[in-house]
Amino acid sequence: MDQERLQCLLQRYFDQMLTAEERTELAAMLLASSRARDEFWELARWNAVIRQWSEAEWGRREAESLSLRPLPAPVVKSAPSKVVPFPATRRQFWRVGLAAAAAVALLATAASFFPWRSKPATGEEALARVAVLTHSADAVWAEAAAERHNGEVLTPGWLKLKSGAVQIEFTRGARVVLEGPAEMQLLTDNQAFLRSGRLRAQVPDAAHGFTVKSSEFTVVDHGTEFGCDVPLIGAAQVHVFNGLVALHRSQVAERQLRKDQAVQIEKGSVKDIPARREQFLSDEELARREQASVRGRLAAWRSTSRFFSNHPSSLLHLDFEGDPGWSRSIPNRAWRAVPEAPASMVGCQSADGRWLGKGAVQFSRADDRLRLNLTGGYQSMSLVAWVRVDSLPDRPQSLVMADGLGTGDVQWYLSRWGELGFGVHIGKNGDPTGWRYHHSIPLITEEMLGTWLCLASIYDGTTDTVTHYLNGETIGSERIGVRTLLQLETFEIGNWASRPGEQRLAGIVPRGTGDVARNLQGRIDEMAIFSSPLTADEVRHFYQAGQNVATQASAK
């Protein structure tokens, strides 16, 4: 076969310049020779790469010309930025449809991944972050699907509390303790509608004008502290403990209430009553109740977590309990662990975990890491952890990363799009291109930053399949083509000890020459590694045992 002629015809093919005769000639070559087909795909690949980059560039320029800022990635609500990274160009209207369909698909799935996120997540309103749930004590939510957790960012919408109490910090600065049973709708970063329930509000100067509406009245705060009580049956009350509030009712002149004044509003008439602080739960009392409830959770978790230390295939179980103190080491609780081989803390600091009093490690600086050693090769491996991701920098973040580029080395990480990634090195020792890896769909969204998540990736060597889990639910699985035993040897949690140059082609590809940081920004308060593929039930058990939810039974 004439090599030069083949190249010439292929080049003409990709420029859509073949004559009928030339096409026949090329077709004959392609049918006759597998090498010709290889060359076809080689050129096809470059053709496609150039097209891919150019389309992206075209989209980027168009966005620039419209002075649109690219949306921060990743958000599950929009299609994953990895694959539909740019605004649709003029000729690509259908793609918007596809992206929307993909978004709907992801959303539909997302609802089952994140059961507490049941609000329709479309439109501008859904993206507005108006408050954060800062504390809760024995909170029981009216709908399991609309449960909220400490640290969760709140968007406009309803909070329906059956019992217990929560503290909410509005973005503008107002702080509210809401006591159940209560139904409150967050309207903006400085406004709420109280349908029923009791709240106490502390309003700093910066949140001046903080407004609580109800069906009977509207209270506009002009400084410091007040309480509202809207029972399901009976008269509503407004109490002022400090400063000044304005009370509005429809068709009635505004009335001002000052420190230690209170009114009762029933069927349109207003009656003065004595102000009573003790009727409203204070921040301090809420904190006390939270601690009490947490003690119960902690005890329950401690007893169930032993199951994972004693699991037959447990290789590593870090529970971060007990003060590491000056030793700067975290003991491995797995039953067959070598006692003198704990995890060494490098840089990172101890911190609070899922509950007050639960130990964790905080990773924040580029050099923060835990260093460990685990010898042996394993046909299967399960990695599970409770992780609080604090930010999504535009780069991958390490969870568990083997040190080098050895055959069988394992990497577990979050991608820059918030996907959960699991990789195995299947090449020869030191081959930078030897990684096989599988990413989940994007999992970590901005609203999930600061909340505790249960992440798991299970590699089952008998089926060569990776399965990812979030909070006990499967979120996808795929065969990845590994025919080697998995190993960790020396490895790191929360960082990656790669040598310069090595990282360039490993499973996670950096974006620029200076981009080598892989450190986690967040906390880990439990981590376990097993030499068997955990079943879906076992993963769910790990999640349920450690769920960050106060139970009704505890405390009080």
């Binding site: 080049q11 990709f14 420029d15 096809a44 690949r45 795929e478 360039r504």
Partner: protein, 178 residues
């Protein structure tokens, strides 16, 4: 094959896998049709079929192979509808080509990164031709009339640019990974 009704989970799984594989699928389709303007149609049609047949997809089986088979049918259909026989490959050629396309990844982020740099080192005129072809999807005759060149010289410029970009990216990758 009869289509089993898909559960919402199956549909969601299949659609999210589709999105994951989208860049490679677009590359695959582009290679077989060679006409930029047909790629979006084929990919969209493939998406619709994949969604409709989500019930047939077994979790854990090879999504890529399944979706690629569907895409290949759609390429055939689309070419039959849109291209005269003289302007398209016979089905057996497309089949032989598809059978040999088994690459795990089409391109990496890193390649794209280097490509951006290499674009900058293209001669301005060549770059203009590349942009008209690859960004704006013009065919060589249109590019020729815009630039005041002959069609043949546009083709030569594009061919050289492809070779240059391939060598440049390959070299940069090698330098970055000694």
């Amino acid at each position: 094959m009869p289509t089993a009704p898909a559960t919402p989970e199956q549909t969601a799984l299949v659609q999210s896998l589709f999105v994951q594989h989208l860049p490679a699928l677009r590359g695959f389709v582009l290679s077989l049709v060679s006409d930029f303007s047909l790629v979006d149609d084929v990919v969209q049609e493939t998406f619709l079929v994949v969604t409709a047949k989500a019930g047939n997809f077994q979790r854990g089986t090879n999504f890529r192979a399944w979706a690629w088979t569907i895409a290949r049918y759609k390429v055939l259909q689309t070419l039959e509808k849109n291209a005269p026989p003289a302007d398209r490959f016979a089905p057996e050629v497309l089949e032989a080509l598809s059978a040999q396309e088994t690459a795990e990844t089409w391109f990496s982020d890193e390649q794209i990164q280097h490509l951006a740099k290499c674009m900058e080192s293209l001669a301005p005129k060549a770059r203009e031709a590349v942009e008209l072809r690859y960004q704006q999807a013009h065919r060589p005759p249109e590019i020729a009339s815009r630039l005041g060149w002959t069609v043949e010289s546009v083709h030569v410029a594009l061919s050289r640019a492809r070779v240059f970009l391939r060598d440049c990216v390959t070299q940069r990758m090698a330098e970055a990974n000694p």
